[in-house]
């Protein structure tokens, strides 16, 4: 297999975007081509989850490749729930590593705000088991709520720890122009003050409003290629060194130990093994904090901290921007936003920016190895990536 490098990156604001879905995918793609200094690619993978249902758009890749005037390059749409983005990167990786193509684009897009919030939540809930979960009204927030209650019971994490994740990620997003939420929050405002219940009502208890990511539109793009192609860009050489994926039971209730996220553990291990790295080599990470609790639990499952100790690392400021292992410097899904099909590419975009040293006010010093965890379903399909800067 050939080594695979990042040639170019692009992103849109994660917010409400009044553009057709194919343009939300095309905008970061043209940015990434400009970044890489190229005018053509061999193949494109477009990640998207809800085009057919939310935007009345199927065959999205065909629309995007034509909009970008990249004909007759091959084009495919990748749908893998909220892990679609990292799955598209994985597909692009395989295409380059195998020798099939030299330069491959993974661009992701989602336009969820074309429908109202309840319909958007119901759309995401179609990820659940149709007969054993969905019919009861199970949504992703409700699964996260039930999971959080167990985690609190077993490991002693509290609403305060969840609030600390939200405060940290909102603060990080203040320095990210592309983030959905530019709103600094405090524990006082969301938990302690008399107004806290109004500011921060329950969504699926014990989870509250500020424990949940926003519903975002947005797009992001990564162009991958061979070492030769990467050298021609003149950019720092960022290698996609590890790609790991694992799955878990479709129904959350079928898991032997319901507080484990085995797919996260498995995907991270595969990615680290392939890269020849261990969790302690990582300088910066983007974890899938669709709910604040997930940042804590994923930080344990991927191996940064022991099981049940992620909240202690959080308390000690270990995961802050100036901490020993900054997590979600972009603001994470919590504050940067979560356009489901684009999220995994958005995470990789941040890591590449960090490894290049181009993250400005939110730059993590001396970042050489970066990690992403893109979490599909409620942990039933997870893709992890390890990126390394080669000097």
């Amino acid at each position: 297999m050939r080594d695979v490098y990042v040639l170019g990156i692009g992103i849109t604001s994660f917010t409400r975007l009044e553009y057709p879905l194919y343009e939300i995918a095309a905008y970061p793609a043209k940015m990434a081509m400009k970044d890489a200094g190229i005018e053509t690619v061999d193949h494109i993978f477009v990640s998207n989850m809800g085009g057919a249902r939310l935007n009345n758009q199927t065959g999205l890749a065909s629309a995007v490749v034509d909009n970008l005037s990249l004909l007759p390059a091959g084009a495919e749409t990748i749908e893998n729930g909220p892990a679609s983005g990292a799955s598209a990167i994985k597909a692009a990786y395989m295409a380059v590593a195998s020798g099939l193509h030299d330069v491959v684009m993974a661009t992701g897009a989602e336009r969820m705000r074309e429908v109202n919030n309840l319909d958007a939540t119901d759309f995401v809930a179609t990820l659940t088991h149709p007969l054993a979960e969905y019919i009861y009204g199970v949504t992703l927030p409700s699964l996260a709520g039930m999971f959080t209650r167990l985690y609190m019971d077993k490991y002693g994490i509290t609403s305060r720890h969840l609030g600390m994740v939200a405060v940290k990620n909102h603060a990080n997003a203040m320095n990210n122009f592309y983030a959905h939420l530019h709103q600094e929050i405090t524990l006082d405002g969301i938990l302690d003050s008399p107004e806290a219940m109004t500011n921060n009502p329950y969504v699926a208890d014990p989870l509250r409003f500020f424990d949940c990511c926003p519903v975002s539109d947005g797009g992001a793009c990564l162009i991958l290629g061979t070492a030769d192609a990467a050298r021609r860009t003149g950019k720092p050489m960022i290698r996609l060194a590890g790609v790991g994926q694992a799955t878990d039971t479709h129904c959350v209730f079928e898991r032997d130990e319901p507080t484990d996220l085995l797919a996260v553990r498995g995907a991270a291990k595969k990615a680290f093994d392939m890269a020849g790295k261990s969790p302690c080599d990582v300088n910066v990470a983007e974890l899938h904090d669709a709910f604040t609790v997930l940042e804590i639990v994923e930080s344990e499952e991927v191996g940064f901290f022991n099981k049940g100790e992620g909240h202690i690392a959080l308390e000690e400021g270990y995961t802050k921007l100036n901490g020993k292992l900054p997590i979600n410097p972009s603001g994470g899904l919590k504050a940067k936003g979560h356009p489901v099909g684009a999220t995994g590419i958005g995470q990789a975009h941040e890591i590449v920016l960090q490894l290049r040293g181009g993250a400005k006010k939110r730059q993590v010093e001396n970042a050489k190895v970066g990690f992403t965890c893109n979490f599909g379903g409620f942990g039933n399909n997870v893709v992890c990536l390890v990126f390394e800067r080669e000097d």
Binding site: D122, A132, Y136, G137, S142, F147, R149, L150, C251, V252
Partner: protein, 116 residues
């Protein structure tokens, strides 16, 4: 009207009871796409976890939808709706099968748990 029941799917090779149905047995990989025994699941069990969902989907005409995961007496687990004022982890519950969701086209039947 006969009492509605909820069923599990028993592998004819190793005897493992699945809920929901699997095409290949999780335990022995036996092909149970069609070759399985439908067995009645117990409706009593223990509440493992729960949530009060304050943002139910549009099909539910309630301000708060109570959901939980229950371990049934035979060891199978199941998601259901809760009709319990103050649920607690570990409490004993009993279930009845009735309409749990109404859409424009169909009434879906499922299990609703109350305090045992």
């Amino acid at each position: 009207m006969s009492k509605l029941k909820i069923y599990g799917y028993k592998c004819k090779n190793c005897g493992k009871v699945h809920y929901p149905h699997k095409s290949l047995c999780k335990n022995c990989k036996h092909d149970m796409f069609e070759d399985f025994e439908q067995v009645e699941l117990p409706t009593n069990g223990k509440l493992l976890t729960f949530t009060n969902l304050h943002t139910p989907s549009g099909d539910f005409d309630v301000p708060i939808l109570k959901l939980g995961i229950v371990e049934l007496e035979n060891g199978n687990r199941i998601t259901g709706q809760l009709n319990i004022d103050e649920p607690k982890i570990g409490m004993s519950v009993k279930g009845v099968v009735k309409t749990v969701r109404k859409s424009d086209y169909e009434n879906y039947k499922g299990i609703v748990f109350s305090k045992a």
